[in-house]
Symmetry: C4
Subunit: 192 residues, 4 copies
């Protein structure tokens, strides 16, 4: 399989999943004359939107880094990549749930939504780890790979998911921090 077409298809799914997130931003349908209050009450939607968008961009940057080091792609790798894309493409669903129930739901439902969000993040990072580990084990990857960054995600997302079962708000804070960490990490390393 040519790397070019695998990248084109993957880039397409990443770009579309990120852009579809906007469909979860909805008219608040506030009482007439109170659109501003309605929009402000929707703050969880904006936080969830920005976090999910940033998460997809981060995964895309890392996906690019992995594929750039590949000499070739074989079929198992293609299907593992498909698994990763499925986890990425599903993100708008838990993002919408989390935004909606943080805003209007009873705490039990908000926590459920935050747990679902965490499960989708775990699915994504596990699929990404499988892609990377398989590529390494088959000698398809040429460059060294950053194990530390992975392990942190593999630890923090399950942690945030467990915390979310008790408090969606605290869970959301961890999801935001993980995204910021993954943006800050490569920047810091560059400077350091």
């Amino acid at each position: 399989m040519s790397k070019a077409r695998a990248e084109a298809f993957s880039d397409g799914v990443f770009a579309i999943a990120a852009t579809l997130l906007v469909l979860e931003l909805k008219d608040p349908l506030a009482a007439s004359g109170h659109l501003l209050e309605g929009l402000l009450r929707q703050w969880p939607s904006y936080v969830a939107y920005a976090t999910s968008f940033a998460t997809i961009v981060i995964i895309w940057v890392n996906h690019h880094a992995v594929l750039a080091t590949l000499k070739s792609l074989d079929l198992p790798l293609l299907f593992l990549n498909g698994l990763l894309l499925m986890a990425v493409a599903v993100i708008p669903f838990p993002t919408g749930l989390l935004a909606h129930y943080l805003q209007t739901g009873p705490p039990a439902d908000a926590n459920t939504a935050a747990v679902v969000y965490g499960l989708s993040a775990i699915a994504m990072i596990v699929a990404f780890s499988l892609v990377s580990l398989y590529a390494r084990s088959r000698g398809l990857m040429q460059a060294e790979f950053n194990v530390v960054a992975f392990s942190i995600g593999l630890l923090l997302y399950p942690l945030a998911t467990i915390v979310s079962a008790f408090s969606a708000q605290v869970g959301l804070v961890i999801y935001v921090l993980v995204a910021l960490f993954y943006i800050a990490l490569p920047l810091a390393r560059k400077v350091g």
Copy 2:
């Protein structure tokens, strides 16, 4: 027609159709405090989502294999390819129907939805066969082509569609198995 642009357009349709599937995953609108039960009751949505996503990735992998062997594309091939893309792009519609009626519908409606799903799968595999056969007949294709894999799909999808008319659940099981078969087949061949 340059192969590059035909691939870019096709990759776009495959990627978008796969990613649009997420719009069929909906808030279950459960009673307050019962989001978890509502999400669990929606299991047919998740099975349908994963099956359709996997089916699109499989068709994309095979589409790539066919185009990779082509020396060039002529106009009839472009229009046959357009037919295939139309069948792929429509998949979110029967997927949504199947998920919805497996969950809430009376058996008659669930069976109808499963038959529609099967018809769309048949349209897809027939269009794909036309693309491949035309390319072969015109000598546009260079490599050998796997006739067995095709014939199995051409047999199993109509079978699953007929079965679906009597039981949507059994039909869905066959759709899942066909997808798994198409993932397992090339992997097994590689090892074997």
Copy 3:
């Protein structure tokens, strides 16, 4: 402007507009146990879907042919191309209207919807003509261009639009025939 990126952006819009058409296919929300009848009553949706999908593929094939002959793109051409893409991207809207009102509307509304569909087709073929004429006038285009095919579209779409004001059904038939004509024309020329 590099041709490659103009093609990538255009291919993206064509592919997305074609794939978004599926969102106009909706659950018929028939009475319980009558999904089949509900789906069959929706036949205008399927005709409109197939016609619009085919129209976008046709425009994409021709767009490719024009860009393939270009030596370069300048800014006016980029903006004319943007106008064409806007006309293409809007197609799901009149498609949805036409499908809906052919099915449930009084004749007056169905005719209105068919006229709107025609106006969007006219906008598309006019924008496409502007792109082609500008490219020719500036000597950016290398190959000869098929004026006959254009003129037919420039005649038939306004005709169908006028007819639609009196009968949406007859209008739809002409829209279908124009699409079939544009598929048949290059195939016939090849054989001839």
Copy 4:
């Protein structure tokens, strides 16, 4: 990071955001037999659609110009580009709000919607400026850059946003004029 993949991902987001705008064009749900009046009353939707589509095409053209002059992309630039894409991808949301409340809302809500539209335009031009300034400061950009055009956007969008707080209609006129200015500017310079 290879420029090619950054361009492919960016082109994807631009193309999808532009094409998703069509989902904000909705069936007016007019009384039976009054579809035409319903569609005509929706004029703010068409103005908002065309303005946002044009704005995205303009940003895309300029984005291309910036990336074309880059020798390479580093990580901070990738994340700044991600910020820009987030601002672009969100445009369908304020576009939908503006179209809806210009049509049905009390003036207070229409003004709120027009302010939100302006804020999203400001976010976009600020992110674009950051991308350009960072690329220049790091010597990644080879060509000269048009500072005047930027400054005008950086002045006019905040101005339009402030005006919108008092009159959504006047705000919309400025948004349209800014888009027309950005189309006319490069064309005029070419001729001049």
